[in-house]
Amino acid sequence: MTLTAPPAPAVPRTVPPAPPGAARRAWRTVSPYAYLAPFFTLFVAFGLFPLLYTAFVSLYRVELQTPGDMEWRGLGNYTALLRDAYFWVSLRNTFTIGVLSTVPQLVMALGLAHLLNHRMRGRTFLRTAVLLPYATSVAAATLVFAQLFGRDFGLINYVLGLVGIDPVDWQNGTVASQIAVSTVVIWRWTGYNTLIYLAGMQSVPVELYEAAAMDGASRWRQFFHVTLPGLRPTILFTVVVSTIGATQLFGEPLLLEGSVSGGISHQYQTLGLYLYEQGWGFFHLGRAAAVAWVMFLLILVLVGLNALIARRRSRKEAGR
């Protein structure tokens, strides 16, 4: 990319423009904005305004039962948050569940995409089939998984029992419950990421594979030395999207037991669920707004970190 390249010569118009009335000219300058207006109207109403209003609310004590009485708190909600042990617990849970769900999910998606990239029978059917879990609602999927993970009458513990493993308490165990929540996430999102990887793989030029094959590279080496480098931007994209998704994880932990505290000892309470507990369990709207802003900043930092690492890597590559 060079910025010094001369502008492309204007393509001569084949159709002469209509007589340039003043109204028409005005419309031409205004129309791009008009086309964008629907999006921006919606964005301002449902994106920007709530964002700013949440910041405003987070500085007050507001209770759902008495939303009219707002009491100035300053940064009180934020300091209360940082002093609350359960906030840190849920921050840690968000991180551990995020890792437990994102890493296997992306690795499996990569493997599946690699398999689906081969010529085989029923390829289109299989490609569609991997997307099916993504089309299921969170609620339906989680409720089914909650049954499967039941402690006393669940299918998974029954199967474990057949091979002589004691029943696992998938609701109350800290690690076990986090695995249960992650399983739902992995099940729902692996197919989606598979398709994204698949699309990425198909944009890797075939010539590269042919050249590698001619040099005697095995399928594995081709995967590591041709596919993976070619997929780097795609992987970066899925990592960013999964990180955001993991930070906001909410439906799965809420519906596992229907507990706003994320289990009796907050063992699988994520930040999203912590926000919900503050806002709709205890009705502290100001406190919930503060959590929302902390989450927002956290996501910004995480995505920024991702971008920084990616940029540094690509610079290193370029300098090679």
């Binding site: 008009a34 086309y35 207006a37 629907p38 109207t41 919606l42 109403a45 004590r61 759902l64 039962q65 008495t66 939303p67 209360a80 609350d84 042990a85 359960y86 909650a146 049954q147 039941g150 402690r151 006393d152 009458f153 308490d169 609701q171 109350n172 165990g173 037991e257 229907g258 706003v260 505290s261 009796i264 000892s265 503050q278 709709w280 369990g281 205890f282 009705f283 502290h284 406190r287």
Partner: protein, 434 residues
């Protein structure tokens, strides 16, 4: 051709504008049309409840509709009261989507009278003050606002007893007679002692009690002061009665007497049919729930005995009419009828919800229930209702109770030390109150 293209472009532009307008309009309109009013005085009264009020099951709506032609009653129901309360509060704050009649649990009524009186109809407007002598004084007083507003009419109360599985007791070699048991478990220590004997010879993998959370809840129901004192001061941490209930629950948890279930969870529901526990602390309204979960197969297997450690009260409810309701007058007429002594009597006989109307309490004294092996439920619950203390109610009762039962469940299911669990409960309560 250019004309057609221009026309199409205009159409697309118009379409975009119309779409935006429609979207914005959709956001602005409130949730109207929840209950359709046909012509000719047809009215649909909506009722939104939690848990098991049992009106529909007892056929009371059908009868009301028969007595009032043109009125249709439509009920929606949430099983878990905590979920119900969340959704009710959200709708109250937004002012939309409210039913004409909303049920309120006694643990929340203080929040209604102290914080939200202006969101509910003062039923004196419709002549409710004339009903005062229908109800037990404490039941009436709890739903009265600071200015004397009548904010709800009492439905049932929750006198406490102990339900138990006769067949499981027999298999474990325990006495099954309700009188004898009542003597053996006159105190909570006696109850836990029997539990240890049961555990030694328990049939299958069944446990003595469903959860230590329900054990705690039934014990705290025997106290006058629980979380607040009469002046409204928060006292739960220094309340010796609460501490005693806590210690007993901890003892049951550590002795492995509990099936470690969460009340109202799907697993808990399944456990009724599977016979996972031998005793279940039961306020009167639990009888209907047991029948529903255990089904026909449970008939004659269950029995009811007097509660260890004296009488208590757990729960009971009110029916209210929100300010934002559509058919306030019709709603009031419905709740006046539903809470009248005759209907409360019928409800108890069919479903087991114990009446709060004084007239009905004498009426049901002789009631027996074949499902519970013919136990004299009218006498057992009637005696408990008379002897139960009048509880001091506070705004955050329900939330504090939830934090304490959560902490006890940690001891029960995760082996957390009682000291740590207590400090977790304290943290939880601090979060709750803010």
């Amino acid at each position: 051709m250019p004309i057609a293209r221009a026309a199409r472009r205009t159409a697309v532009r118009l379409g975009a504008v119309v779409l935006t307008g429609a979207l914005l309009a959709a956001c602005g309109s409130s949730t109207d049309g929840a209950s359709g009013d046909g012509a000719g005085g047809e009215v649909t009264v909506t009722v939104d409840l939690f848990g098991s009020f049992g009106y529909k099951e007892a056929g009371l709506y059908a009868e009301y509709e028969r007595l009032h032609p043109g009125v249709t009653v439509k009920q929606t129901d949430t099983e878990d009261e905590a979920d119900y309360w969340k959704s009710l509060q959200t709708r109250l704050a937004g002012g939309g989507g409210l039913a004409d009649v909303q049920g309120i649990e006694v643990g929340r009524i203080a929040s209604v009278t102290q914080q939200q009186a202006e969101r509910f109809e003062d039923l004196r407007k419709y002549g409710a003050e004339a009903l005062e002598n229908r109800f037990a004084p404490a039941k009436w007083a709890a739903a009265t606002g600071k200015g004397g507003e009548v904010l709800g009419l009492g439905t049932d109360v929750g006198p406490e007893a102990m339900c138990y599985r006769k067949d499981l007791f027999e298999q474990a070699g325990l006495p099954t007679d309700r009188e004898e048991l009542a003597k053996k478990w006159a105190t909570w220590d006696g109850y836990l002692e029997l539990g240890k004997r049961y555990k030694a010879k328990a049939p299958g993998r069944s446990a003595w009690i469903d959860s230590v959370g329900s054990l705690y809840s039934i014990m705290i129901g025997q106290e006058k002061e629980r979380y607040y004192d009469a002046s409204g001061k928060l006292i739960w941490e220094d309340n010796p009665a609460l501490r005693t209930a806590w210690d007993h629950a901890v003892e049951a948890a550590r002795g492995g007497l509990s099936a470690k279930l969460d009340q109202w969870s799907p697993q808990w529901n399944q456990a009724f049919a599977a016979g996972s526990f031998a005793t279940l602390p039961c306020p009167a309204w639990m009888l209907g729930y047991i029948k529903g979960q255990a089904g026909e197969a449970g008939k004659g297997r269950w029995d009811v005995a007097a509660l260890p450690g004296g009488a208590g009260n757990w729960g009971g409810s009110y029916l209210t009419v929100p300010r934002a309701a559509k058919h306030k007058k019709e709603a009031y007429e419905l709740i006046e009828w539903l809470t009248a002594p005759e209907q409360q009597t019928r409800l108890f006989e069919k479903q087991g919800n114990f009446p709060s109307a004084t007239g009905a309490i004498d009426e049901v004294a002789g009631a027996k229930d074949p499902f519970f092996s013919g136990a004299p439920i009218g006498k057992i619950f009637g005696d408990a209702a008379k002897a139960a203390p009048v509880q001091v109610l506070g705004v955050h009762d329900q939330n504090i109770a939830q934090q304490i039962t959560n902490a006890l469940s940690e001891v029960e299911r995760k082996g957390t030390s009682p000291e740590e669990a207590w400090s977790n409960a304290r943290k939880g309560v601090e979060n709750t109150i803010d």
